[in-house]
Symmetry: C2
């Protein structure tokens, strides 16, 4: 048993205080995971409030909830008031609405105002990621004034590497690295150092828009303005990393043909998961039923030439595979901004040729498969050459069509306002399956009319 | 024409100098994109070396290469010597080997040593992301000594928010936020502030391992140690954001059934792209040929009951869709650490029940589709009830099998050392297509023996 565990068991508050003297938030959170609820509450009571708030941010949701229940109202208020505004927003928005309301009430009037204004932005917007903990300066200040101001007001700001210059109306007019002030003469004026070049985020924009900006700008934090250009907060890169990872997960899940889970695979409820997966599977199934209709339409042909049926799975799945491939490539390229909506024409040209090349490769392999097999077996009948040509030519057409449909569907979906990732791999495969059958039997009719058909 | 353009045209060096006085790296890079090569070279010559190096980092690769050609060897050396070590590593490793060698030769001996040591780590390892620009302190220093040291040596370090405590052998023993030194009395000793709790990365580990650590630790930078625990550098979160986005892109491309491109969709060469896509399509096509073999095996059954052929695409694609769905979910959960290899059993149990639920839903819909249709049409013949039951029961089995195969394949691949994302949606679909046919015709034999078969 560790000294701390012994002190906890004995409820020796001074002992606990001595042992946890130098602990920081993450250390506290780490060791609390192994404690009972009561022990957690005891530790939380002994530690300084700012350390407790820091530790609270590092606990997972179930531990946070347990702890809130074990603590008194004043203690909860202290924790919430000491939390970083952006982490508090995240915590509040993940709480049930009634709990959020109770929690907001225990905040100090000042912090409540901050919390409410952050919660006032749309879900998944830049505004929800903001923290108001930045340092703003004026352009007529001297370097000395700036450095004094930073020393006085800077300890609380999320990042001190960049200072923001605002005009008298609070409008952002520049951002300057602190480093430049350290190297400049003390009596120089801010406006002499300004280059009036800055990038900023808009509070109402989607949170995901921050990812590409952070990637291209190589910054640890970016300023956020409202619609009039007034500086209202900053977004730090650690939140953006979370957003980027969550976006990639949601995108991947959609591409795989399911709704985005919005929670980890292992913790999502079973029926909730079945619902998110079943919805799309049913839609795809209903769409796929058209293949039965299409097959029914060609039943006469199949009866005359059963050999045609043998290649149906091969043919349609090749279209599905090439379509899945093209659609995931284009969805990701659109998501990370490698291609824009306006590039659809260049992508289409590229994909037509790619489809032709890929289809020709598969077509040739398919033809020779049938030709060579026919040397050893009579399964494909006397007209194996025509059957081989039917399969080969169909493959070229179907792979081209799959590639084209798969690559253009994400553009179409974004154009009409949907998430491009709705064009999932199974969705494209289903679409191509149905049309693929029509292509296959049409080609068969062309080649086999008068012989098998 | 802007003043700068005029000054450039007139080769008015003093004018250019005055106009670009306050420019920082990104601003220079931005305006250089619109300049001719000669103009770029002129601007680069006029600006201070550190600004030029900063601007160089923000240019894209083609612009970088053009510029290197236009500049003299001394100027190239100056730029490279002034670049941040981590950005320089990235630049060097993306250059052709012969160019890298030439570039290394123009570095100062000191910087060459740094560059070579960073390039000595395996590709895509933490070591390649490192920068040696951190501040290390000793545990017996006072707070005053630490702050003096930071003032003197800190301006060059990538992040100043955290200082690293090392022992006499350079072994990392703690990390402490600068903030704590600002609040502590000047004569306190470092060891009094230490909590001996820190997380660090290993230089030889895969770069991707940094992503989950940064997500859980909420830091802007993390220290890197060698195998003996000696601090050798830090990794900053902006590089990790890039790694996370690149990983997600590669994963998505693999899941879509293609090799990872490793370069943007629009800039990858056409035949290079066809090769990366064609390789997998051919493998899948060869696998899918087994469906033709399987169908050939059941040719007799199809001839007796053509109605069975009608549902082949519907049946196998449902298995493929549920498999695609399960595999993408599990691949992503494995990638971001939501599930570990050891969780395979829990995932399997969950997926068996999910497959049963999803298969039952589709099975019921499929059965009623046939039952209702038969009220209006004779296409399914007098034995429509048995056909409906064949389709319904097959769907339950195939969706369960698809879900199971799709969810377990990524575990199996990781177990034997492959990337789980190799289990792409089309790969699972192909696997399930072949086995799905066997399931379907076996169920058909069970229900239709003595009537249709």
């Amino acid at each position: 048993m560790s000294e701390l565990q012994r002190a906890l068991k004995a409820r020796d508050l001074n002992g606990i205080r001595a042992l946890t003297k130098n602990w920081t938030g993450p250390a506290v959170a780490d060791s609390m995971k192994a404690m009972s609820e009561i022990e957690q509450a005891v530790v939380m009571r002994v530690l300084p409030r700012n350390v407790v708030a820091a530790a609270f941010e590092f606990l997972d949701r179930p531990n946070q909830n347990r702890l809130l229940k074990a603590l008194g109202q004043q203690e909860v208020a202290d924790i919430l008031n000491h939390m970083a505004p952006d982490d508090r927003t995240e915590f509040l928005e993940e709480s049930p609405a009634t709990v959020t309301k109770q929690l907001l009430e225990v905040l100090s009037p000042q912090e409540r105002e901050v919390a409410l204004s952050l919660l006032g932005y749309p879900k998944k917007s830049i505004g929800r990621l903001m923290t108001p903990q930045y340092v703003a300066i004026k352009e007529n200040w001297t370097v000395r004034q700036v450095l004094d101001y930073v020393r006085e007001h800077g300890t609380n700001s999320e990042t001190l590497s960049v200072l923001y210059v605002v005009d008298d109306h609070g409008v952002l007019i520049d951002d300057i690295r602190v480093r430049e002030f350290l190297l400049a003469p003390q009596d120089r004026v801010v406006s002499d150092i300004m280059d009036n070049r800055f990038v900023s985020l808009k509070a109402d924009d989607a949170a995901e828009s921050a990812v590409s900006l952070f990637l291209s700008e190589d910054r640890k934090a970016l300023p956020v303005t409202d619609t009039t250009g007034v500086l209202i907060g900053i977004v730090t890169i650690d939140d953006v990393l979370k957003i980027a990872e969550n976006r990639a997960t949601a995108e991947m899940q959609r591409v795989g043909g399911s709704e985005a889970f919005d929670e980890p695979y292992m913790s999502i409820g079973f029926w909730r998961m079945v619902k998110k997966r079943g919805g799309w599977l049913v839609i795809l199934f209903l769409g796929e039923m058209l293949t039965a209709t299409a097959m029914g339409f060609f039943e006469g042909e199949i009866e005359k030439a059963v050999v045609l049926a043998l290649f149906v799975p091969l043919i349609i799945s090749s279209g599905g595979n090439s379509g899945s491939q093209a659609t995931t490539l284009v969805i990701r390229a659109l998501a990370i901004g490698e291609v824009a909506l306006a590039d659809w024409w260049r992508v289409m040209r590229r994909e037509i040729f790619a489809g032709l090349a890929l289809g020709s490769i598969l077509g040739v392999i398919g033809f020779f498969r049938i030709a060579i097999w026919s040397g050893f077996s009579t399964i494909y009948g006397p007209h194996w050459l025509l059957v081989g040509m039917t399969v080969g030519v169909s493959l070229v057409g179907i792979v081209m069509w799959g590639t084209l449909a798969g690559s253009m569907l994400p553009f179409l979906l974004r154009r009409v306002g949907f998430d491009p990732a709705t064009s999932s791999a199974p969705f494209v495969a289903t679409l191509v399956d149905v049309t693929g059958l029509v292509i296959y039997f049409s080609v068969a009719f062309l080649f086999l009319k008068g012989t098998l058909l």
